[in-house]
């Protein structure tokens, strides 16, 4: 399929997720020192009300990225038309920097897991994902970004690596990538591959954004790392971030993700400054 959607211009900057606990500060007199905010699309895909009004007010101050969790581009049964129509309405209203979601599936025709479930890395799944992305991008009238997931199991029928899957997906659909560095770390530890191999196997020219987040480490009883977004980013993930930033053609946007145990905004801004410092150090090198 020809890719008729306009390309996404790279945007360099450092941002945070907009969470309800920080609404007042983002709407206060003192500007919050971020270059963009990212919101969970589904939280604002309503017909009206306070959250949508607040998002519009924030949008008047800083660029906004719409990051979804329920598109389910890996579903064998296709996309949910209601979800897609509401997402388009929100995107038309907010005019975001871009719209993103995850390489995963969340639902069957009967049920929704409300979790980002892993896909078998097969040609069949790749075909389904690409068909769904084509439909989504066509409906939205724009190219999208898709994020590499954290995962806790792999499938016996896997035919390729995740980076090969993402590369083929981007090449076939013209979509872009949202590189979650923490997810690479989590998956590499859970499945026993080198994070550097993953990074170098990706089409890095398609990366427009990076996510950084904390995770729940493995324990003796549970030898699996879980992507929780409930704590600070750990040093090995910062190291991987620096490595990724050195490989990716700049500019690229970086964001700290926090969805649970939301700390004071000042803590997140301090963490974001660490990303700025890491990126700045690369420029000086």
């Amino acid at each position: 399929m020809a890719h008729s959607n306009p390309s996404i211009t790279p945007f360099g900057g450092f941002g945070l997720g907009l969470r309800a606990a920080h609404y007042d500060q983002f709407l206060g007199d003192d500007p919050v020192p971020v270059d963009f905010v990212e919101v969970i699309s589904e939280n604002y895909m309503s017909e009206g009300g306070r959250p949508l009004r607040i998002l519009e007010e924030v949008r008047a101050r800083v660029p906004v990225i719409l990051h979804g969790v329920s598109m389910s581009i890996g579903s064998a049964g296709g996309l949910d038309g209601d979800h897609l129509a509401r997402l388009k309405a929100l995107a038309d209203r907010i005019e975001p920097l871009w719209v993103s979601d995850h390489l995963c599936w969340t639902r069957t025709s009967a049920h929704n897991s409300h979790d980002l479930l892993p896909l078998p890395l097969t040609q069949e799944a790749l075909g389904a994902v690409c068909d769904n992305i084509d439909r989504a991008q066509e409906a939205l009238g724009r190219a999208m970004l898709f994020e590499n997931p954290s995962s806790y199991l792999t499938f016996p029928e896997d035919e390729m690596s995740e980076w090969e899957f993402l590369s083929a997906m981007a090449q076939r659909t013209g979509c872009y990538l949202l590189l979650d560095v923490n997810n690479i770390y989590v998956a590499s530890q859970n499945h026993g591959f080198a994070a550097e191999t993953y990074l170098s196997g990706l089409p890095l020219d398609r990366v427009r954004q990076i996510h950084l987040a904390g995770h729940d480490p493995a324990t003796e009883d549970r030898p699996v790392i879980i992507d929780t977004h409930d704590r600070a980013v750990i040093d090995p993930v910062w190291d991987l971030y620096a490595e990724a930033m050195a490989l990716i053609e700049q500019p690229v946007a970086t964001m700290i993700e926090r969805d649970e145990n939301i700390p004071p905004l000042s803590d997140l801004l301090t963490e974001l400054n660490r990303a700025r410092d890491a990126a700045g150090a690369l420029e000086l090198a």
């Binding site: 009300g49 329920s70 049964g77 929704n112 806790y152």
Partner: protein, 265 residues
Amino acid sequence: MTPPPSPLAKRQADFMKAILDEDAPLPEGWGNSHTMGLSVYRGNYRSALMGALQETFERTARYIGEDAFRTARINHVIANPPSHWTIDAAGEGFDRTCAELFPNNAEVAELAWLEWAMLDLVGAPDEEAVSPQAFAQASAQFGDAQWLGLGLTFQTRATGRLVTHDLTALWQSLGEPGADRDLRGYEEPQGCLVWREGERPTFIMVEADTARAFDAVQKGARYGDLISLIAGDGADEAAIGDAAQKAGAMLGLWLSEGIVTGFSA
């Protein structure tokens, strides 16, 4: 004849079944190495839904206590696995779950219904209300036929029902953890109307007739139908006159509360 599901569709159906049902067999080709990963996905599924219900039904939780609320949530999630793209929808029907679990405490289901109705209004369309002044001006020249044929439009997701307890007293007493509950039962059911005042969901207790009339208007009843409904079958002229006055008072209430968003005569 329905074609067999594709390998991907079958894999996803089996995976979903394994998440929803801990007793389901492991999907084909999976061994012990998959059990740990599957348990993470099962845990994520349950904690996400339990958390969503906790957030939506804060007062119901305070009223029945943590243990009973946990049991109610587990029952609800097992009986109503989610199918909608938004997790907020997981709370739909939780009042029915409560009604089944607490058959001798109707107030539990009534409180859960109210919390759900309030949440549903948060993202409802922003609609401009018809002010009492604007309506008075527009209806000043109405004749009998126009009054009898008057149709009203309410806020899209405003709702109402009959309840057996004073939900205002109960709601207010459950505003803070640990406060004494204020449970007052009615001898006869009363009405509860829920709508949005600006951006804020709100509710009031009203007479049962008002709630019935509200429901009838939402189903398309005209002003004349309301008067007939209130007066009842075989009403004489005096009863019809009383009913007309009551209908006028209801209309005044709905207008002054900002629930009416349109009308046609």
